[in-house]
Amino acid sequence: MQPLILTFQLALVVTAILFVLGVPLAYWIAFSRNRFKYVVETLVSMPLVLPPTVIGFYLLIVFSPQYFLGHFLQSFLGLRVVFSFTGLVIGSVLFSLPFMVNPIKAGLQNFPSALREASYCLGKSTWETLRRVILPNIKPALLTGIVMAFAHTIGEFGVVLMIGGNIPGETRLASIAIYNEVEALNYDTAGLYALILVAISFSILLIFYYLNRKPLKIF
């Protein structure tokens, strides 16, 4: 059971971080006129096209205690990122970033600009407008981001294996545990994990699509 619990802990933490990070980032990409935003937009979507092992590899290098950042974190803050839960969180946040940011960005871009402008003309700040006018009207997009980020984190393998390794109770997630059990020829245990993952992912997506059955209602 431990790998499954760990998987859900990771997915919850990662989704929460991504939501806090994703809304402002999506807002900036959607509305900024800064010409570097396309670079940021591209970087956000890189995990969609790169093999997970590539991201895992770079993270491993960057956070390895042999190099500057990893060394700094370990010697000054006592924080070890590689082969730890923290590492899993960092890797998963980066890897699931487009799944949170892209739906929210689309929701913001499709939101009628007259409503935003009407709110500004009424003297309301951008923050108040975002909180009281925009976010309540793009709930389907927010929900899509949350569900996709959560489900995608559960399904990860490459990144988490590279940066987290396979430490029981610390970094051994369900997806890694399955691989492990197959290697050890424990097909029954592997099959149980696999079945549970399928059932849970299926349920999450089914509930999501059922809730979202109405067309995106903006008006």
Partner: protein, 299 residues
């Protein structure tokens, strides 16, 4: 003079690049209309005034306060300009009821102004504008005319210095349009707020405003009262009215036109020839040439 505007901005129109180049003054409490074809720059002008669009260069002063000055690099944010902007399209917040939309517009609580007083203001507007009974409806449950009425009240509740109406009636059917025109007159008489209306509807212009600026391809070509600007002086009629056709009804060999002129709906007889290029919604001038009116003492 209350509002002084001198601005320049490049516009991209279907005809190519044009310069919006305007220089005009509007007195406090005046109701003026900007009239022109679509693409002439009317909406851009309102957006520049509200701060939603930036001009390339120029100067905007409202009530002694500088809102924009390209030379001094002053550009007051939209929020601080606080213009009551009524958009052409529906701009009510769909997740809020009519009342919540209005409450949202309340300015941040001022000292000495209680919750009760603020809600009194909203309640009063709801009654004045005939919105009683709709307060708890969401915008998608009310008609287009009602939506624009709520949008108008919402703009006023934020206590703006100027009211900017960007063709708020153009998407409405003729009946609601006429009603809302009356409401706009009512609001203006009640508040005496400086109002700038953008319109390309002649009968609306005649009915609502005393002063009009005609914009053509980014420039003001004429200004004055609607009569001065529009009424064709070649026509030596003594009685002239501008109106809009509401209905064309063929009755035997003649046609009966129902017209909306000013605040009235009236019927006139017209020949087939006269109505050849007229349709419902056409703007017409009704004039009488040889005309001996009966003068009766009013009782």
């Amino acid at each position: 003079m209350m509002i002084k505007i001198r601005i320049k901005r490049e516009m991209h129109t279907p005809l190519g690049k044009e310069w919006l180049d305007l220089d005009l003054n509007i007195a406090k409490g005046e109701f003026v209309t900007l009239y022109g074809e679509s693409g002439a720059g009317k909406t851009t002008f309102l957006r520049i005034l509200a701060g939603l669009t930036q001009p390339q260069e120029g100067f905007i002063e409202v009530d002694g306060e500088i809102w924009f000055d390209s030379r001094k690099r002053i550009n007051l944010p939209i929020q601080q300009r606080k213009t009551g902007f009524v958009f052409q399209e529906n701009s009510l917040f769909p997740h809020m009821t009519v009342r919540e939309n209005l409450e949202y517009a309340l300015p941040r609580r001022q000292a000495g102004c209680s919750d009760k007083q603020e809600h009194g203001i909203i309640e009063e507007w709801i009654v004045t504008m005939g919105l009683k009974g709709l307060e708890d409806q969401k915008p998608d449950k009310i008609s287009g005319g009602q939506k624009q009425r709520v949008a108008l009240v919402r703009a006023l509740i934020s206590r703006p210095k100027i009211l900017l109406l960007d063709e708020p009636l153009s998407d409405l059917d003729i009946r609601s349009r006429l009603d809302l025109q009356d409401e706009i007159i009512k609001v203006y008489q009640k508040t005496k707020i400086t109002t700038i209306l953008v319109s390309h509807d002649l009968s609306e212009v005649f009915k609502l405003s005393k002063k009009i600026f005609v914009i053509d391809r980014g420039k003001i070509t004429k200004s004055g009262s609607p009569q001065e600007v529009f009424v064709n002086n070649d026509l030596s009629g003594k009685f002239k009215f501008t109106g809009e056709i509401i209905e064309i009804h063929k009755d035997g060999v003649i046609n009966i036109l129902t017209l909306s002129i000013g605040n009235n709906v009236t019927r006139v007889v017209a020949s087939d020839e006269e109505i050849a290029d007229l349709t419902i919604g056409s703007k017409v001038i009704v004039a009488a040439k040889a005309f001996n009116p009966l003068i009766l003492k009013a009782r």
